[in-house]
């Protein structure tokens, strides 16, 4: 049994590594296909000459052939030296750029993720338990309505109402208060980030609500639930003990994927709220054709997603021997 577990894990890891290389190659190809370099603007404004432009392109590897460039990037990723490479736009090591942004992104997106997922799950369960009632259809209708609101629009409305009209929240996320203590700092952070958190958590809340509601409702149609009810078990007990357990694996996968994507930030939300996170970094890097920064960011996201999925799969292979045996 233990050997089965080990070979299963090894096979999974090898498979994931291939996926990772594939993902990076696709992104690199797309970048190479897009025209332009970070130095075009200087050239078009006549700030540098054609010769200087060519020299810059050579220096920063924009004139490398596709294979050489891809090999350099992959080598950089394998040895992690990619993060020490410099961004041609900022002329600064990538690690310096990312280490400033990552805490912002993680705090915002993690908060939104937990807040949204919890809210979605609780409401989803509530809906499933009140299937067919007026309350349920009201929640579902509202959810579908919220789901169709674009995040950037919701963000702007939140800013307009709460920041401009009511003046309750600040427009920008920068906190300048020098914190007196940890608790004070926490409140300040929350005050500055609550609007983006609300806007972003909407995505998680809606998707978890609908998924959980559908899965639990489906599970309710199973005979075992009917017989447990007939035996007189309490509804809470049935849900906690049986229903939730049987729908756990797909939910774990869903949560794991979302967890991995936390590292990518949220481009739209960050842009609307001027939040200096990974999303805006990646966005501007793509605009500027800043290859190393784009690749390093996607590398982090890909590794995080793949790692999260792998851990999830290994976890439930451990929980459920049937999966391990294939």
């Amino acid at each position: 049994m233990a050997r089965g577990m080990v070979s299963y894990t090894l096979a999974k890891i090898a498979h994931r590594l291939l996926t990772l290389i594939f993902v990076i190659l696709i992104i690199y190809t797309l970048l190479r296909l897009a025209p332009g370099t970070p130095f075009d603007q200087y050239l078009y404004q006549g700030k540098i000459t054609e010769a200087q432009y060519e020299a810059l392109l050579k220096e920063w590897g924009y004139r490398d052939s596709f294979l050489v460039g891809a090999a350099k990037m992959l080598y950089g990723m394998a040895t992690f030296s990619l993060f020490k490479m410099k961004s041609p736009v900022y002329n600064k090591p990538i690690i310096d750029l990312i280490s400033v942004r990552l805490p912002y992104t993680l705090s915002l997106v993690t908060a939104a993720y937990f807040f949204g997922a919890m809210l979605g799950m609780i409401l989803g369960l509530y809906c499933a338990r009140n299937r067919g009632t007026l309350k349920e259809s009201a929640i579902i209708w509202i959810t579908l309505g919220i789901r169709s609101l674009p995040v950037f629009w919701l963000g702007m409305v939140l800013l307009y109402v709460f920041a401009f009209k009511l003046g309750l929240f600040p427009f920008l996320t920068s906190s300048e208060l020098h914190p007196r203590n940890v608790f004070h700092h926490m409140i300040d952070w929350l005050w500055h980030s609550l609007l983006p958190i609300i806007a972003l958590s909407k995505i998680y809340a809606v998707s978890y609500l609908l998924t959980i509601r559908n899965m639990v409702s489906e599970e309710y149609t199973n005979d075992y639930v009917v017989s447990f009810r007939a035996m007189g078990l309490r509804e809470d007990y049935i849900i906690e003990r049986y229903v939730l357990r049987s729908i756990m694996p797909p939910i774990i996968t869903m949560m794991a994927i979302d967890l991995g994507f936390l590292f990518g930030g949220a481009v739209v939300t960050e842009t609307v709220f001027n939040y200096p996170g990974m999303g805006t970094l990646i966005y501007t890097a793509i605009w500027n054709k800043d290859y190393p920064v784009v690749l390093a960011s996607f590398y982090i996201i890909a590794v995080a997603v793949i790692l999260a999925i792998t851990i999830a799969e290994i976890t439930y292979a451990y929980l459920d021997p049937r999966i391990r045996r294939g």
Binding site: P35, L43, G46, M118, A163, L172, D188
Partner: protein, 591 residues
């Protein structure tokens, strides 16, 4: 703690977070919160955005700067300067002010000036902020004494006037900081730490959060005295609507953002009745024009370009979107009225007035006729003809798209089909030359930017090439004669190299409740050097406030270091609180 207590605590926490003070009032003095757009680097030599230069302009000093009106040069670090002829060479001597101090207390000397100029000369491809005219024909930089520096140029140097203008772009950096590898390991790198950004300007950098804000503090030893503004916080903003709302409700005092047309009307309605909001208006030096691709037929045919010029009522099109006071008609000679004596103002309607019949006549003459009867003209050899028009540059106002549609409509009237491309990859297509006509914005900073139309200039993306123009430009750059500028502009106008559209008249709001002495000018609008300097306090009268500012500056370092160490908690506590909120219903649930 029981559940009720916990939920009560969380509720209190939530409410207190909402009630937290919206704006920290400054402990002493005037604190302004200003908005700028995103910048890539604050390195004074490699910075390439107007936003970083707005900030650097307060921290560093050039040798020569633009005066309060923004049109004439005046002394900055150099108290006076003179040009001398020595044989074929031109010698420029700068006499520096004595006793000017860097923010760390060391004196500014001729060595620093020499170091900066030589550093710039060593790698002009990377140091893109200073004007290359400074090193054009520069033979030698000589330190005569502690306060005198001599620059020897050969005969290819630019005219004296243009050299003076060029020196307004060169921020002098301290040699002792820039040579210290522990502080600045690579002078071409992006700088974003206060200890790297030591200048000698009226403000010193107190705190930087990349992508968020820069906090500047008045430098009490500034040679003109302590500036009137004590603290200036430059916040990064990307959205005009947010800027409008923040100025309207007092969260911002001013910013490098502007409105025109209907946006301005909306903003005026938003703040109507607020006496604390003022609006500064100025004709922008930027010029928007309809360019022809000279590398393609028939755009390289003067007759065809004239036909297009006759087919478009530019004044009507621009007025439709900018109103009568939102834009000034562009000049067919490129430079606008902003450039004073160098501008020969030639609106298109004066030279090529709207005359669709004349346009049709020329097109017929060229052989563009509608052969197949579909309402659009075909090429002389009978192939379908269509103009591919690029309109939108990223981050631009939506008017350019609308104006593109308008142009397409008028050209349809004379039988020409136009494809308007509003995609976001404007710059890539523009650079690659894969366009027929394009609406493009140029921001000339100086008269010598007429160089963009010389044959081998990399900025010349339209492909216009004219020998007389090139030769005249050479002479113009060397002599600075405004008559030659007029000659150049006439060549452009006679050749219809582009169709001038408009110079937008920008309007930017600022608040006067916390600060009154704004001195806006067309260069940096409300955020110029003179604006924040106000009426500086002379050092002799500031002995009492001196103490307080030294204590704040010394306490600055520990407080900023605590904020960085707290960053970890920032990422944890907030989410933790939110998780608790989410768990609340679970805890309260009946078991």
């Amino acid at each position: 703690m029981n559940r009720k207590g916990l939920s009560l605590l969380l509720a209190v926490l939530f409410l207190s977070s909402i009630a937290a003070a919206p704006r920290v009032s400054a402990s002493a003095g005037t604190e302004l919160v200003l908005a700028v757009g995103k910048w890539k680097t604050l390195n004074p030599l490699t910075s390439s955005t107007v936003y970083s230069n707005v900030i650097l302009d307060k921290v560093y000093e050039p040798l020569i700067r633009w005066d309060k009106s923004g049109t004439k040069v005046t002394s900055a670090l150099a108290e006076k300067w003179e040009f001398k002829k020595e044989g074929d060479n031109k010698v420029l001597t700068f006499h520096l002010r004595k006793g000017v101090k860097w923010h760390d207390g060391k004196e500014v000397t001729a060595e620093d000036v020499k170091f900066t100029i030589e550093l710039f000369k060593s790698n002009p491809a990377k140091f893109v902020n200073p004007d290359t005219l400074i090193i054009n024909g520069l033979q030698e930089v000589k330190v005569v004494d502690k306060y005198t520096v001599q620059l020897v140029y050969n005969q290819s140097a630019a005219a004296d006037k243009f050299l003076e203008m060029a020196f307004t772009t060169l921020y002098i950096v301290p040699k002792h900081i820039w040579e210290d590898k522990n502080i600045i390991s690579d002078p071409t790198a992006s700088l974003d730490k206060p200890e790297q950004l030591v200048g000698c300007g009226p403000f010193k950098v107190a705190e930087i959060k990349p992508g968020e804000y820069v906090k500047l503090q008045a430098f009490k030893d500034y040679y003109l005295g302590k500036p009137e503004v004590d603290t200036a916080i430059f916040k990064v903003l990307t959205d005009k609507n947010q800027f409008a709302m923040m100025v309207a409700n007092g969260e911002l005092d001013a910013g490098y953002f502007y409105f025109f047309g209907k946006y301005l009307k909306e903003f005026e309605n938003m703040v109507s009745g607020d006496p604390n909001v003022k609006i500064y208006r100025a004709a922008s030096k930027s010029t928007h024009l309809l360019a022809f691709n000279f590398k393609k037929w028939p755009y390289n045919d003067l007759k065809f370009r004239k036909a297009i010029a006759y087919a478009l009522p530019v004044d009507k099109i621009v007025q439709k979107y900018y109103g009568t006071d939102g834009a000034k008609a562009g000049s067919m000679g490129f430079l606008g009225p902003f450039f004073g004596e160098y501008c020969k103002y030639m609106p298109k309607e004066n030279l090529y007035p709207y005359d669709p019949d004349k346009a049709k006549e020329i097109l017929d003459e060229l052989g563009f006729k509608d052969v197949n009867g579909d309402g659009y003209r075909e090429t002389p050899d009978g192939k379908p003809f269509k103009i591919y028009l690029l309109t939108r540059a990223p981050g631009d106002s939506f008017f350019r798209d609308a104006i593109g549609d308008e142009i397409a409509n008028y050209l349809k009237d004379v039988g020409i089909k136009v494809d308007v491309d509003k995609a976001g990859d404007y710059w890539d297509k523009w650079g690659a030359g894969s366009w027929d006509m394009a609406i493009v914005g140029f921001v000339p900073h100086k008269p010598t930017d007429l160089i963009w139309f010389t044959s081998d200039n990399p900025g010349n993306r339209v492909g216009f090439s004219n020998k007389t123009y090139d030769e005249t430009f050479e002479e113009f750059q060397r002599t600075g004669d405004p008559a030659l500028a007029h000659k150049l502009e006439e060549i452009l106008a006679n050749n219809v190299v582009f169709i001038a559209l408009y110079h937008p008249i920008v309007a930017t709001p600022y608040r006067v409740d916390r600060y009154k002495d704004w001195a806006p000018n067309p260069r940096f609008l409300t955020l110029g050097y003179w604006s924040l300097l106000g009426n500086p306090e002379k050092p002799t009268t500031t002995t009492s406030s001196e103490k307080s500012s030294t204590t704040t500056s010394s306490s600055k370092t520990p407080s900023s270091s605590t904020s960085t160490t707290k960053k970890g908690e920032k990422g944890l506590c907030g989410p933790a609180a939110l998780v608790l909120f989410a768990v609340l219903p679970l805890l309260k649930r009946r078991r």
